[in-house]
């Protein structure tokens, strides 16, 4: 986030080179920096788009490629390994414009789209420059001030306790200033001196009482302050976690594709904890220290401005060093954070995957990997410690120097009679108090920095918007079950197409089978139907309404999907079946379970708790086939208008599969059903079969139609049929012996 900002200004040497080519009424529209030059070395090279031409410029070598927009037909950013290239298709053939590393892929892809649109007059550029956000990557910037403002917004509902704790803090700081003052009075007025040979014993009593009162009040207020601030911090953290979790739930699947669960967990658990430390403890020390610094600063100026100026000498030194220190420390702490996240990511992937690790005897390998990551983390932490050790002791040293100066100058003043002893002692004790809060801030700075880092990390996630958004006019309605898929293109990465121009209309109540080699995009299509992602092009409609205009809740509750690897939750079998419907009656659960062949294994004698048996984390205590059957029962119970079975019976044996499908035959009646299957024999009952290959629909028809045409389907079918026959005769052969 902190690097790679897009350039804001075109360097003057580039402008000069480009201007020479430009006509009088020509204007620069956009420019973009690439990091690979025309020879393939890492150097600056600029892409400049004007109202009339596209130019690639290397200011160092004066290398120029100038292509008039008039002759451009289209533009494309091609992907290669480690780099890419912007290519213009012109009337005289292709023109390779410039290369760029993968860092700028996204920028140049959009630049290509932009040039394309300009060349095809889809956007018109008026006399001035234009800004079309769609065509440029927005590099997001998270400003510190933004993060703080956002954190403060959580404090707002609790402003009463915040104000209370501030008042208490102010009072304590005020109280802490009293003792030094009393000491000055003690020295100058209570004790005998040349002007007052007997002293003032009565005043001593008052001083003692005053001191006692101050300390008592201070202790009591200290307790009150800690309590209010700690409570405030807990409350804020609570609402922070809740809103963070809600936000996570609202994110589309593409968010989870990008972030590993380890990283998300770290944000949710430990980052919120660090932020809590800041809100309940760090902030309180910070506020008090700053108040103390201000209060003491005020006091020393009222006592003796000349000495006060000397005392403040270190301040400019600190102010000068601070910004560069902050910048470096921020980078280091963010690196620490990433390394820590690496470690937890590793643990999150290997601990649940222990069985795989053991199967491949990779314990040592995993151990070494872990040690490596821990070493990285160790080094990173050490670096930030080193940085702190460079900065803070230097500050301390400068402040000690100024103290010595005060002793010297103040001491001489006392000798010359310009200053009383009491005033000097008061002053010196204020100074020693003055450095206390500075020390506190420096000591706690590392924690404060890491909590700001954490806050930034949480903020980063909260700022992200789900790719799948409900339109304001979206509505809920009861589905009939007609599905229309029109010209749909999709890619998880928008430039790597997974689905190509899919067109398919499914009538209400129709049973559609989808077959095709793995990786052909079958699952992806069902994900689009559930609107886990939005198509990059084209539209999907249910009963004539675009998915984007249907309330997500309404959409997903009326489509039942059974995935190849169903997700079961920690809890009982009954809980997992009834997941889609909270208030399911027991007979409904049993009925759905019988339909999906769950009943037999749920009621097995080995399960004393029957349907109340715990399935374990992720259903780990059931077999793959049992898990699939529970998922089917769940879909049956939710009674959806549209049912999607995505290789839902791939892990059950043929016999059970047949039984489930028999049950399904009743169930699919009256509802639109999409069955994705590997075993083609299970699809013979489908009204139509759709054959997919490489993200396209290649054949559609009934089983017998497709067999007649002799395309991919008939090949797949014959191959499977022969294999099954061969297997059966093998078994027969074995039995005969």
């Amino acid at each position: 986030m902190e690097e790679d900002e897009p350039p804001n200004n075109l360097p003057s040497d580039v402008t000069a080179l480009v201007r020479r080519l430009m006509e009088k009424d020509e204007v620069i529209v956009r420019f973009l920096l690439s990091d690979i030059d025309e020879k393939g070395n890492f150097n600056d090279q600029w892409l400049v788009i004007t109202t009339k031409r596209v130019i690639a410029v290397n200011p160092a070598t004066k290398h120029l490629i100038d292509v008039p927009l008039q002759i451009v037909r289209s533009a494309k950013a091609k992907d290669y390994v480690g780099n890419g290239e912007l290519i213009l298709e012109t009337v005289v053939g292709p023109k390779r414009l410039l290369r760029f590393s993968r860092r700028y892929v996204e920028d140049f892809r959009r630049a290509a789209m932009f040039i394309d649109a300009m060349a095809n007059k889809k956007i018109t550029v008026n006399g001035k420059s234009i800004w079309n956000g769609d065509y440029w990557v927005k590099h997001k910037e998270y400003k510190k001030r933004q993060v703080l403002r956002w954190l403060l917004s959580y404090l707002k509902p609790n402003w009463v306790s915040l104000a209370l704790s501030l008042v208490i803090s102010l009072t304590t700081v005020g109280l802490s200033l009293i003792p030094a003052r009393l000491m000055g009075i003690l020295l100058d007025e209570v004790f005998p001196s040349s002007s007052n040979p007997v002293g003032n014993p009565r005043l001593l009593l008052f001083i003692i009482l005053g001191l006692l009162g101050t300390y008592v009040a201070n202790s009591l207020l200290g307790v009150a302050r800690s309590y209010t601030l700690a409570r405030l911090g807990q409350k804020v953290t609570y609402s922070l976690r809740v809103s963070f979790y809600r936000h996570l739930q609202s994110m589309s699947l593409s968010f989870y594709d990008k972030f590993s669960s380890g990283r998300i967990m770290q944000r949710l658990i430990s980052d919120t904890q660090t932020v809590q430390w800041f809100l309940s403890f760090g902030m309180q020390t910070l506020i008090i220290s700053i108040l103390q610094i201000l209060g003491i600063g005020f006091m020393i100026f009222t006592i003796n401005p000349r000495l006060a100026v000397i005392a403040l000498l270190p301040v400019p030194v600190i102010l000068l060093g601070w910004p560069s220190f902050r910048k470096r420390s921020r980078r280091l702490y963010h690196r620490n954070w990433r390394r820590r996240a690496d470690v937890s990511s590793l643990l999150w992937s290997t601990v649940p995957g222990t069985i795989v690790v053991k199967t491949f005897v990779k314990e040592n390998f995993e151990f070494r990997r872990f040690v490596e990551k821990m070493k990285d983390l160790f080094r990173a932490s050490l670096d930030s410690t080193k940085l702190n050790l460079k900065f803070f002791p230097a500050i301390s040293f400068v402040t000690y120097m100024s103290t010595i100066l005060i002793w010297w100058i103040g001491g001489s003043d006392v000798l010359s009679g310009a200053l009383t002893t009491g005033t000097l002692i008061t002053f010196i004790s204020y100074i020693s108090m003055f450095y206390g809060p500075i020390q506190t801030i420096s000591n706690q700075f590392p924690q404060i920095q890491s909590s700001i880092t954490s806050a930034e990390r949480i903020f980063e996630v909260l700022e992200m918007e789900s790719d799948v958004k409900e339109m304001p006019e979206s509505r809920a309605f009861d589905f009939q079950g007609k599905i229309e898929i029109e010209n749909v293109d999709f890619g998880y990465d928008p430039y790597v197409p997974v689905l190509n121009n899919i067109n398919l209309t499914i009538e209400p109540g129709e049973v559609i089978g989808i077959v095709g080699p793995s990786g052909s995009g079958k699952t992806t299509l069902t994900k689009l139907l559930m609107r886990f992602y939005d198509p990059t092009k084209g539209s999907i409609r249910i009963d004539g309404v675009d998915l984007r205009k249907i309330k997500l809740q309404s959409l997903r509750s009326q489509i039942g999907v059974v995935l190849q690897e169903p997700n079961l939750f920690y809890g009982s079998i009954a809980y997992n079946i009834a997941y889609a419907r909270e208030k399911a009656e027991p007979e409904e659960i049993v009925a759905a379970a019988k339909a999906a062949n769950v009943h037999e294994f749920a009621m097995d004698d080995s399960r004393p708790l029957k349907y109340d048996t715990n399935v374990g984390t992720g259903g780990s205590r059931l077999s793959g086939g049992e898990r699939q059957r529970v998922a089917i029962a769940r879909a049956i119970l939710s009674d959806p208008k549209i049912l999607v079975l995505d290789e839902a019976t791939s892990s059950v044996d043929t016999l059970t599969e047949r039984k489930i499908h028999e049950a399904m035959e009743n169930l699919v009646k009256g509802r639109t059903t999409i069955i994705i299957a590997h075993r083609l024999s299970t699809l013979r009952k489908a009204n139509r079969i759709v054959v997919m290959q490489d993200g396209r629909i290649v054949e559609v028809g009934t089983h017998s139609q497709l067999m007649k045409t002799g395309g991919l389907y008939s090949q797949l079918y014959n191959a499977q049929f022969e294999k099954e026959r061969a297997m059966e005769s093998d078994i027969d052969g074995l039995l005969a012996k």
Binding site: G571, S572, A574, Y575, E585, P586, E587, E588, I589, V590, A591, A592, K594, A595, H599, A602, M603, P608, L609, K610, Y611, D612, N614, G616, I636, L637, D639, N666, L667, K669, G670
Partner: protein, 166 residues
């Protein structure tokens, strides 16, 4: 619509449609249902913890005859016979009070007072404890089962013990 057909297949009976009596010798039931007398009928509880009142009756061959949604609605004699048999088939005593719970690593030593008297037992691992809403099921190291019917209804001390441990 079609889930309904499956529900119909469960044959959920109205309480007055059946009468049940216990064959003490064989530990099976006699069932009179729709003018037929079934012998050697065995009851089954699909949800022994979360919905114990729901019972399926099976004939001697193991086929389902009918289901009773709430056995508490049966006439007194039938209910008593059925519950007596169920009590032996599904022995899951209710814990009334937790006197002591000591954890050493993964191992828990329980000292409890159940509806069937005092009982001390051991469980191992987090998995031996299952929370179902407000209920709690405990499987001890010998595969005996215990349940807490409603954690909220336990006495203060027992509740505290559970809360501070899980």
């Amino acid at each position: 619509m079609t889930l309904k057909t499956f529900i119909e297949k469960l044959n959920i009976v109205r309480p007055e449609e059946i009468s049940i009596c216990l064959d003490e010798e064989k530990n099976v039931l006699f069932l009179r249902y729709k003018n037929t007398l079934y012998q050697e009928v065995v009851p089954e509880r699909p949800f022994p913890i979360s919905y114990p009142e729901f019972v399926i009756l099976k004939d001697s061959k193991g086929d389902d005859i009918c289901s009773i949604k709430d056995i508490r609605k049966l006439d007194d004699k039938s209910r008593a016979s059925l519950e007596k048999l169920l009590d032996t088939l599904y022995f899951i005593p209710k814990i009334l009070k937790i006197i002591r719970l000591e954890a050493t690593g993964d191992r828990f030593e329980w000292e409890t007072e159940t509806e069937r008297g005092k009982r001390t037992f051991t469980t191992r691992g987090r998995r031996s404890i299952l929370f179902l809403g407000n209920k709690m099921v405990i499987t001890d190291t010998d595969d005996n089962l215990y349940q807490v019917e409603d954690i909220g209804a336990l006495d203060e001390k027992s509740r505290k013990i559970i809360q501070s441990t899980f």
